[in-house]
Each structure stands twice: as structure tokens, then as C-alpha cells.
């Protein structure tokens, strides 16, 4: 053993840090339209290569090309554009509201609006999403009232969760949106359990699990893959790879694997990788997975390749850990711009209508905000009652909690 050299620890680092020139050499983009579309009953083993490709529909000229094109007509694509624009404008207003002290905390979607907005349209009413904090597009695209979202963001008297939960940690059974947990990844296995329940009951509804690239390292991700693989649960397993997990780049969680989609392979779960900034590709891929699930063919793992253009949250300043201009170098562009160009190319939209649309959307949001603020914001105006803090811990309040509420004076 004399010639054995000392071991060393590899600590993965992103290609560039602040001050450097942004590069994305490891995002090997496929040509739009180049990746095949297998039948939904394909064997997982026969599409292993798809976990290393990137399914794209929109080409550089804004044309929708290839076998994955065609799941949305122009009217539907326009609706998608409006959803993404709404989400972006909503985020901008709420970021401002946070800076104004009207809420404690906010998390935005900048750059990754296509993912949640398009997937929402690929599922059916009654299906259940188990989202993270970065899928408010699911609510927006489902038509959930913006005012209600804001009521929660402002923790005001009309907050549907009565001030108990953090802003943006929405919950709406009626809109197929499971209560967001502040704990990463926990909802992933719950989605599989929900899907198993649907199968147990002979229902036709399916579930969608959501997780970020960083959170795939959590144990619940594994449990979900095991259970989905074993019971062939009717669930979409979505991984939103937006390149960052607060300050750590996606290579830290990904490790020696080239992609997150590949995580499915060891479980015999078909895996696809898609351009997450391509609304049409996201929709097509999600629709494929939803059809699979609903046909009782089991789970599909989908990696959405996108980029978190904004800060992680209002508590974060990304300039401390990544180059400022990184989003400009991002090879997959801006989802709003890309869908807009597509619609303009198809003469279903124009620059002018776009500006007009932005203005209309802003008006809607401002109106919603006025309405919400009338019910109060975090530090001013009406607020949820302290009495309510004691409610909902149990279905019926047990004696010890009643005593405590009395002691508290409510």
C-alpha cells in the first residue's frame, strides 16, 4: 500500500462566483423539436436517454416544433401568457408590499413562471397538487382569487388561514392546492399517499408532487420514489431545477449525476427532462405524465430546467453568491418573452396588445390589493384575532387548551 496517495474531499463548486463571467456550460440544450415523444405506456428502460435530453417545443424563432408541439391552441397559449404575466406582476407588487412592511416575507417566481402555470393546465379539476412555496402559478392559473392570496400575504382579518400560517404558504382544497409546508420535501411523499388513496378508492383523480432541486436531497424525496415505484401510484413527480437552492448551486444536490431526472432510473420510474422556460413544452410533458398516471400506468418523474432569476426570498441577497448578470447568460431565456414571441409569430398577439395586457393585469392586481388592504396588513388595520390562535389545533378544543385560552384572556 506504500504507493497509495492521500485521499481528498471533493466539494462541488459552481463554475462562477460573484465577479466572474456567468457560464452555463453544463446545460446541454437539445434542439427544439429534437426529442422524441414516446407512447405513454413506454417502458421506463426504453426512455432512459430522455432523462439526459431537454424536451423543447419553442425554437429560437418562436415556432412550436416537433412531436411535443400541439397540446395548446393559440387561445390556450394566450391564456397561459396571461397567467404568467399575472404571476410576474403579482410578485412585483407583493415584493414592494413586503418592502413597505405590509407583510413579513415574500417569495417570487421570476423566470420560472412557465412551470407552475403550464402544469396547472395539464391536470384536471379534482386532481391535487402538493406544491412548494414557488408554485403560486398553480393558483393563478386555476383562477384562485388574487385578493384571497393577498389577504393571506397581509395576514389580515380576511386571511383564509387566520394569520396562523406564513404569507404565501397557501392552502386550497377547492383549487387542488395542498397546504404548503415550510418544511422542504415533506409534501412529496404525501402526494404519493394521496395518489395511492385515489387508487385504493378506484377514483380517477391523480396527484402532483412538487420539489426543488436542492430539496431532492431530503429523505422524503426517496420515500416518495420508493412508494411510487412499489405501488405504481398515479402521481406526477415534479422536480423544479431552478439551478439554485438559496446559495448553493444545483450541482451540490445533484452530485455526480448529470441530471435530476436520472434519479428516477433506479426506481424504474420513467423520467423526462424539459425546458422549464418553454410554456408549451412544459404543458406537453405534464400532459403526457398526467395521461400516464390516469391510465393507471404509474408515476413519471419530470425535471423542469429553469432558472431562479430573483432572490431566494425577501430575506436573501443573491449577489453574495452568484454573478449579478447570470440570468442574462441563461440559455433558456425568459418564459414570458418566449411565449409572447411565439404568439406574435403566429399573429395571435402583438407588442401593443402585450403592453395593453400588462396594464390591464396591473389594474386587476392593484384593485385586488386595494380590496385586500382594506382588510388590513400585517402591522396595521384589522387582523386575525388572538383567540383564533387557539382554534384548529384539534377538531374540538381539548380542556387544557381551553384553560390556556382563558388564561390568555380570550
Amino acid at each position: 500500500m506504500a504507493d497509495v496517495r492521500p485521499l481528498t474531499l471533493r466539494v462541488p463548486e459552481p463554475a462562477v462566483r460573484p465577479g466572474g463571467t456567468p457560464v452555463f456550460a453544463d446545460i446541454a440544450t437539445s434542439e427544439a423539436g429534437a426529442v422524441r415523444r414516446p407512447p405513454i405506456d413506454v417502458a421506463a428502460d426504453d426512455i432512459r436517454d430522455l432523462a439526459y435530453a431537454i424536451i423543447r417545443v419553442l425554437d429560437d424563432e418562436g415556432r412550436a416544433v416537433g412531436p411535443w408541439a400541439g397540446t395548446r391552441d393559440d387561445a390556450e397559449a394566450l391564456e397561459g401568457l396571461r397567467h404568467m404575466m399575472t404571476l410576474r406582476a403579482f410578485d412585483a407588487r407583493m415584493l414592494m408590499a413586503q418592502r413597505q412592511g405590509k407583510t413579513s416575507f415574500y417569495m417570487q417566481h421570476l423566470g420560472e413562471e412557465a412551470v407552475s402555470c403550464a402544469v396547472q393546465r395539464a391536470l384536471e379539476p379534482g386532481d391535487m397538487h402538493f406544491p412548494t412555496y414557488r408554485q403560486a402559478g398553480l393558483l393563478v392559473a386555476a383562477g384562485y382569487p388574487l385578493t384571497t392570496m393577498m389577504n393571506q400575504i397581509f395576514s389580515n382579518a380576511e386571511d383564509p388561514l387566520h394569520g396562523r400560517q406564513l404569507p404565501i404558504m397557501y392552502s386550497s382544497k377547492a383549487f387542488g392546492f395542498f397546504s404548503i409546508s415550510g418544511n422542504l420535501a415533506t409534501q412529496y411523499i404525501q402526494a404519493v399517499g394521496w395518489a395511492m388513496a385515489s387508487a385504493i378508492k378506484g377514483d380517477t383523480r391523480i396527484a402532483a408532487a412538487w420539489i426543488g432541486d436542492g430539496a431532492t436531497a431530503e429523505p422524503d424525496f426517496h420515500a416518495a420514489l420508493v412508494f411510487a415505484s412499489t405501488y405504481r401510484a398515479p402521481v406526477m413527480l415534479n422536480v423544479v431545477n431552478n439551478q439554485w437552492a438559496i446559495s448553493t448551486f444545483s450541482g451540490l444536490a445533484r452530485g455526480s449525476s448529470a441530471t435530476f431526472a436520472a434519479r428516477g432510473h433506479g426506481f424504474g420510474i420513467p423520467a423526462l427532462r424539459v425546458d422549464g422556460n418553454d410554456y408549451l413544452a412544459v404543458h406537453a410533458v405534464a400532459r403526457w405524465a398526467a395521461e400516464r398516471a390516469r391510465a393507471n400506468l404509474g408515476p413519471t418523474l419530470i425535471e423542469y430546467v429553469t432558472y431562479r432569476a430573483g432572490a431566494h426570498s425577501t430575506s436573501d441577497d443573491p449577489s453574495a453568491y452568484r454573478p449579478k448578470a447570470e440570468f442574462d447568460a441563461w440559455p433558456l431565456g425568459d418564459p414570458v418573452e418566449r411565449l409572447k414571441r411565439h404568439l406574435i409569430a403566429r399573429r395571435a398577439w402583438s407588442e401593443e396588445r402585450h403592453r395593453q395586457g400588462e396594464a390591464e393585469i396591473l389594474d386587476t392586481i392593484l384593485a385586488a390589493q386595494r380590496e385586500a388592504e382594506a382588510h388590513g396588513t400585517l402591522h396595521s388595520g384589522p387582523r386575525p384575532s388572538a383567540r383564533d390562535m387557539f382554534e384548529g389545533v384539534y377538531a374540538t378544543m381539548p380542556p387544557h387548551l381551553r384553560r390556556q385560552r382563558q388564561e390568555a384572556g380570550y
Binding site: 418544511n183 411523499i189 402526494a191 420515500a223 384539534y394
Partner: protein, 337 residues
Amino acid sequence: MSRRTMIEAIRDAMAVAMERDDNVVVFGEDVGYFGGVFRCTQGLQQRFGANRCFDAPISELGIVGAAVGMAAYGLRPCVEVQFADYVYPAYDQIVSEAARLRYRSNGDFTAPLVIRMPAGGGIFGGQTHSQSPEALFTHVAGLKTVVPSNPHDAKGLLIAAIEDDDPVIFLEPKRIYNGPFDGHHDRPVTPWSRHPLGEVPDGHYTVPLGRAALRREGAAVTVLAYGTMVHVAEAAAADCGVDAEILDLRTLVPLDLDAIEASVRKTGRCIVLHEATLTSGFGAELAALVQGACFYHLEAPVLRVTGWDTPYPHAQEWDYFPGPVRVARALLQIVEA
């Protein structure tokens, strides 16, 4: 009415609940085809199908996490963790998810599920088959915690737990699965068939969560116990002749504080028993509550007789277990205080 062991009573509770409500499903490690390593789910798969009772991969996290999702869907999962010592991988799903789902979603989603687990020592199971982790659940708002001490209660409490709309931790003292073990480990084992609480009504009934049961009326001291320790308390009182009033708490959260207060006010003395380690055990909460509620009635400090603050040892099991000798010593000490 029929004579049943605690295992049979628990099995019967699940069968009754599954029969009455299609939404009740049972799963866990080895619980399906095989019927569980303690046989608590034996026959359920044959009777209700693999759709309603099935084996799970070895992942307590997965079992509880999936159960939370199922409960959110509308089912009432009753899952088994093979030993309470193995519940920790599921702890996050219990504490952060099941316990808080109703609260954080304002009732939009709920988690009516039961997590059954064999707990406690006395079977030479060493540190990984002997733990009593109840205090790790009683600290968590949103959970209920139940520990039955006999077949009659086990069935009634388990049905109540399954029908409850909140998550319930159901700890089954494995040492008394087959008989009312009183801590005299050197004596022959008594079977449940010779104990009045081995009489178990057929069909549906519940023992409501949150009510203690008086196991022995007495005037000299109140003993608060649950699970196996109820029987140890009875043996100790008999052994030393102290006229102890023994309360079987049955449910730790919600707790029957009224019954506790009434008894301690009467006796003026209180001993708290559990098998778990002393520090921050549930006995601490009981002692704190009793001294708070009955301060002016207490003639002696509340005593705790519990497992030591060590892992559960294998060979020294009977030195660790708070048996009737230690309990009797405490009874004699407190009545003289």
C-alpha cells in the same frame, strides 16, 4: 363478550373499524400477508383485501408520510410502526405535518390517522426494542397520545382513535400483549383470560380519549400510571399494603386532569410512574401539573418512579425496569413523608 389477549383486542378493533368504514386502511412493515411481527393485523388482508391492508417498504417516513397524504384525501389510515424505537425516521412527518396540518390550513386539510406502535421493555429487547417515547409526542401540539393497559381498553381506545378526526399516537405496551405483567419477572406469566379486563365486548364500542380509569380506590396516595405500569402499581400496592389509589391515565393528551386533581386532593400524596427515562419524561408534566393544581393539598412532594436516564440496557433489563420493588419502596416512603 369474549376473552381476548391485547393482540386479539387490537386486531378486533381494526377489523371492526374497517368493517364499518371503507376509508379505514391498515398498512406497515410486515402487516399485510404475514399479519405483523406481533400478529396484530393477522387475517385483515385476507378479510379486507390487499387494497385495505398491505405491506409497506421499510420506511417509517414513507409509511407516515403516505398516511398523511391518504388522510388528506379522505381515508383514515391506521398504520403500524414495528417498534416505537423505529418511529424517529417518521418524526418529522408526525411533528411537522400530521400534527399541524389542520392548524396551518385552517381545517382545509386534516390528518385523521392513527400510528400504532409496540412500546416498552420487559422482553429483553435491549435499547432498540424497549423504548417508551410518549413524551416526545405529548410535547407536540396537535397530537393525541394514548397508552392502553388492557384488552378491553385497547379495543375501545383504538376504535376511538381511528374514529377521531386528529392524528393519534397509539402506544401498545408489548410486555402486556399476552398478559397483565406486573413486573414480577421471576413469577409465572398470567394470561389475559384470567383478568377481568381481558373480557372484551364483541363488535363496536369506544373508550373515549381523555378519560382516566380508576383501577384501585385508596386513601393514602394517588398513583398515576399508564400501560404496563398500571399493573406494576397494583402489584406494588398489594406487596407493601399501602392503600394506594391507582389511576390508569389511558390518554396522556388530552389528559383527564379533573380525575387526577380529585384524587390527589383526596389523598394528599402523589406518585407518578413510567418506564421511559426520567428527565423530561411525561412524569415531569404530571408532577408539574399536580403540584400546580393541588399545591395546598399536597403533604409530600410528588415522587417519580421511572426508568433511569440511560438507554434501555439488555442484560440489566430488570435493573432498569421500574418494578414493584421500587414502586413499593416509593409508596412506603411517601406515606411516611
